[in-house]
Symmetry: C2
Subunit: 226 residues, 2 copies
């Protein structure tokens, strides 16, 4: 199958205490796209050391529980070319120390990518950079107050599974990233491929971007669009 979209080089940023499913939901969809289309993945972090999901704060349980993923590039020696950049969320987004190098890289990379995707609380971190200003975007619904406070000039959409605004796609919390990615694959590579992959992954997609029972649960049904 020809990759008509010419989207070959994908990148994802990792930082300590990222949310595993924000990363591996969308990436597992792309892993399967890569079986039939030529795609390269670049995993970009502050250093080449493995990056753990383990929170450095918020964990008073005595647990030792997390997964570490190996980067392929660093923020200071990033891939030469990226067509698509993905920014996940996680509790790490709440630490300015953690996010400072991530935000610097996002600002540098954003102008050169064809598509920019962000998920969950990652959208709040992205909003801090200003690149969402004047755009429509959504994010994690339980953390909606925090997410929206990070970008007072963003046209926040409170009731949305995901939002597409030009080349910027943002999703609601965690598992919403899977629906965003299936929608992205459907648009870029065709609905047939998206449907086939969802069938293989036994995933019941939410195909309506306005589906959002979580916004309703948190009483976020009003619009903050300006």
């Amino acid at each position: 199958m020809t990759n008509e979209t010419e989207l070959v080089n994908y990148g994802i940023v990792l930082y300590p205490a990222f949310q595993a499913l924000d990363v591996f939901g969308p990436l597992d969809v792309l892993n399967m796209v890569s079986f039939s289309n030529r795609l390269n993945l670049h995993i970009i972090a502050e250093t080449m050391d493995p990056v753990s999901t383990k929170p450095q704060v918020m964990n008073n349980s005595g647990s030792d529980f997390g997964e570490s993923v190996v980067p392929t590039h660093t923020f200071t020696e990033p891939p030469e070319q990226l067509d698509v950049l993905i920014v996940p969320g996680g509790v790490g987004t709440r630490s300015d120390e953690v996010t400072a190098p991530v935000r610097a890289y996002i600002l540098e990379a954003f102008p050169n990518v064809k598509y920019f995707l962000s998920i969950c609380t990652g959208v709040g971190m992205v909003a801090q950079t200003g690149i969402l200003d004047g755009r429509r975007a959504t994010g994690n619904k339980r953390s909606w107050a925090w997410v929206t406070a990070q970008g007072p000039n963003v046209n926040w959409v409170p009731h949305a599974r995901w939002v597409e605004d030009g080349n910027v796609w943002t999703s609601s919390g965690v598992s919403a990233g899977i629906d965003l990615m299936f929608a992205f694959v459907a648009k870029m590579y065709g609905e047939d491929l998206a449907s086939e992959l969802a069938l293989g992954m036994e995933y019941e997609r939410h195909v309506n971007p306005d589906w959002d029972p979580f916004a309703e649960y948190w009483n976020l049904t009003g619009s903050s669009e300006v």
Copy 2:
């Protein structure tokens, strides 16, 4: 919150070309359980080298796309104690060379765990060991013919999102592992925690183990139970 179940030490096996969401769907749920309950995670593989999702076969697309995860233990120097062992699926299960050391470890570990969970085509690999003989189990529905052929003495349940048989839980393909894990957490740690985590992850659970439109799609509605 007290961990009344006394399930503290979790283990998951990794092998080359595992399916990312088989692993990180269930683990992301457990990552969040570990915020309020003391849980330890052990990631067990053949060596301490990072293990990649990248298929060694089945990929003629020219892609270079995959994620590598860092083990904490090896099959020959495994964790001293495991309460729960999780076995994911993936195209790696189709290679006897890949699965031989995994199956040897599963046979060794199984008698000593309190619960044994397997997902997707991982169930086929587990069936090869014989430990599912005489038990009810399900697995990936697109690969149903292959999965069931691996264990002629298993009581295969073709129409199921997941199946619980004593201390052995098995799930249908890929994303079904998320529903299995939420059901497991609900049973072991309480429905309140499972509901709260699904809300935070903005995940719409399938709470009925018999929900299975994929079995219907593949015309697997008949029962092979003996």
